[in-house]
Amino acid sequence: MLFNTLDFLIFFVIVVGLIGLFKFRKFQHILIIISSFYFIFYTDNFFVTILISIILLHFYIGKEIHKAGTVFRKKTYFVIGILGSLAPLGFFKYYDFTISQFNFLGEIINLESQIPLLNLALPIGISFYTFQSLSYIIDIYRGSLEPSKSLKEYAFFVSFFPALVAGPILRARQFLPQLREKIDLTQSNQNLKLIRIENSNLKFGITLISLGFFKKLFFADNIGVMVDNIFANPIGLESFSIILGTIAFGVQIYCDFSGYSDIAIGAAAILGFKIPLNFNKPFFATSPSDFWTRWHISLSTWVRDYLYYPLVLKNRKSDVLIFTSLLISMFLMGIWHGASLNFIIWGGINGIFLATYTILRKRFPKASSNIFFKTKIGKITSILITQYIVFFTFIAFRITDYDNMTYAMRKYVLLDFETANTIEIIKANEFSILLLIIFFVLHFISYSKGNISEFLSKLKLRYWFMFLLGIFMPITLFYLGSSQEFIYFKF
């Protein structure tokens, strides 16, 4: 069920309506859990059993890890939990890719037979809810989280439908306390709270959902038309055409995914739950590491906390260890997106940039605190250099064909300074170009003004109404005419 379809709108209105009408906490929680399972079942049918299995496995494994008397028992349960959740992900996402690599090797050494591929469909949201539930048992194993006492509470957390299929990846530490009844401002008991649809949350949620649709339907889908035209056959294109396509794709994927996240955060807000931001003006990042604190924040912090930190824990002074740990982390982040060469390359390039930057910063600590980088020009220079690198990595994210990808990368780096075809492309895509300009203006405004959605949701009703009209008009008048899938639904 895509967020940008009529199906979802009807589903969401029914769920919110029932929650608002029947103020019985048991009913409300069971309704949301069943709705979340139905959300998956609606599109993915009996793949919902994978989600249910992971919930059951981690709920009981979490308890066992917590009460294990010996380190060995604790470790055994932990390994069972990790393998139990990674097995379905590995099977559905990476089986065919791995087998095709074996077959490729077999061809090289002239093996006559091939292992058949299974052509498996990827269960929706599996990458997201697997990571979400993994963080739960890792935190229990580390002793930083008490296991949930009720299966209902845990099932609610893992299956919560706004964040179920494409994140943001929730953390139990942040989410479970929100489910519980508050005793006072700082403490809560184990009872699940009554869900109330508060006016402020409703207004904030609708504001965010509207902005999410605006980003997706107005910007991402319309800019995507130009991106598809440029990258359908990039070989032969000029450098500036490749750069234009790359920038457009960067904006498209940002609007697509952050739009999705806004809808998810807004839907959760209406139900009274706070989901952390997933994007924070990434195109104003001043360094590769700054970029990863602003882009897909829930995944990058997950990788940082559960992969990178444990890898460098033993020796934070070793450059080699830092370099390889960052490289491994980003490589795995790449492969998390999909089992294909382009995502591996994307992760690898990001890893190299991030690791190089981190080592350089460590070696030359005075350079980053140089007065130049504190001036406006210094900051703009940092932003431009960072974005040049970031957009370069997007080439690997967008182009799956290896030859096309390397051609585009070459042209991006080694400029040919030809402009004839680029002018033709601009002329043929005036509307997309106009949208790019509008996007960067709005992005700058939201960067300089802070939390725009918070500000908009606090407007007086009549001004808020004008805002809604202003958002809905371009959405409907420039709607492509068919629902385009969210890019991150594939992951």
Binding site: M1, L6, D7, G20, F41, Y42, T43, N45, I197, N199, L202, K203, I206, N222, F431, L461, W464, F465, L468, L469, F472, M473, I475, T476, L477, F478, Y479, L480, G481, S482
Partner: protein, 314 residues
């Protein structure tokens, strides 16, 4: 729950929808060959020539008006052709803009019609409870979205973005091609028929609504009457189909379509000619429904030229 917030949300959605529908109506009212948009408003066109309008759906857009005008000039025929083809056109859609066409005083109107303009869409309501349990998404789409799409398509037959952009472009600077105002007349490649057949799922046409009380037929009658009342000559022709379409069309329904057009010929005393099978086997197609806008496909335009000469003479 604050009902003011919900009310304002619903109001905003309603106002936006009304404006959307209004803008679609505004779009189809721009049938003005003098139109050059705000930015080019000082340009004038030759008023001495009589006008021929070609109307119909995207399937007649590949009639090259520039080529026709060139040939008309060469043959010293004092007419100017405008191809007013518009996406997803059918008689009921066209009826809404017929007054605007009349206002622009054409001497002759060629109206290209196809049997697909009269197609009857039947919903598949045969879902069982088991279908609903096993495949709720499919059942929802079959029963709800198609219904909704049909009613919305009455107003918005193609992408709102395309309509809005065309409208904006008109308002600002007029159409790109003066003689093809509603669809961008760019040259396109011919695709081999075998490839076209492989590329998409087969589309079957099994049922048409061609009886005299059917909606599209009534609309067609009104169009003819309104044009004749203003002494505008109208010529109907069946637009071309590829053999991929014809093979998957019920032959009895095809005969019903031909009969319906012949009935109009007698009823209104107007010329009717048939092109729906003429180019079926030729490699001149862009896809199964559209002839490519390509110099190698000029035969369609040449045939129309012959018909124009027959109607307006020298």
């Amino acid at each position: 729950m604050n009902y003011k917030i919900i009310f304002l949300l619903i109001l905003a959605v309603s106002i936006t929808s009304i404006i959307l529908f209004f803008s679609m109506d505004l779009y189809i009212q721009i049938y003005d060959p003098d139109w050059h948009g705000i930015l080019n408003s000082n340009q004038k066109i030759d008023e001495s020539k009589k006008r021929i309008f070609i109307i119909g759906g995207s399937t007649v857009y590949s009639i090259n008006a520039e080529h026709l005008n060139k040939k008309l000039s060469e043959n010293e025929i004092n007419y100017e052709v405008f191809n007013l083809a518009d996406q997803a056109d059918n008689p009921s859609q066209r009826l809404r803009s017929i007054e605007n066409i009349i206002e622009n005083k054409p001497s002759v109107v060629f109206y290209g019609l196809g049997y697909t303009n009269f197609e009857k869409f039947e919903k598949d309501n045969s879902n069982t409870i088991l279908d609903f349990i096993y495949n709720p998404e499919e059942v929802f789409k079959n029963n709800f979205e198609i219904l909704l799409d049909e009613s919305i398509n009455e107003y918005i037959p193609v992408s709102p973005k395309d309509r809005s952009l065309v409208l904006l472009k008109y308002l600002l600077r007029g159409p790109d091609d003066h003689h093809h105002p509603f669809m961008s007349f760019k040259e396109g490649e011919i695709v081999d028929l075998a490839k076209i057949r492989d590329d998409k799922e087969t589309r079957f046409v099994t049922s048409l609504e061609t009886k005299k009380n059917d909606k599209e037929v009534i609309a067609l009658n009104s169009i003819i009457k309104k044009l004749q009342e203003k002494n505008i000559k109208i010529i109907l022709f069946s637009f071309p189909y590829s053999k991929i379409m014809l093979e998957n069309t019920d032959s009895i329904e095809l005969e019903n379509f031909e009969k319906m057009l012949k009935d109009k010929e007698k009823e209104f005393d107007i010329p009717v000619f048939f092109l729906h099978e003429k180019y079926a086997d030729m490699n001149i197609w862009k896809d199964r429904l559209h002839i490519a806008n390509n110099p190698k496909s000029i035969i369609f335009t040449e045939d129309i030229f012959e018909k124009i000469v027959k109607v307006v003479g020298k």
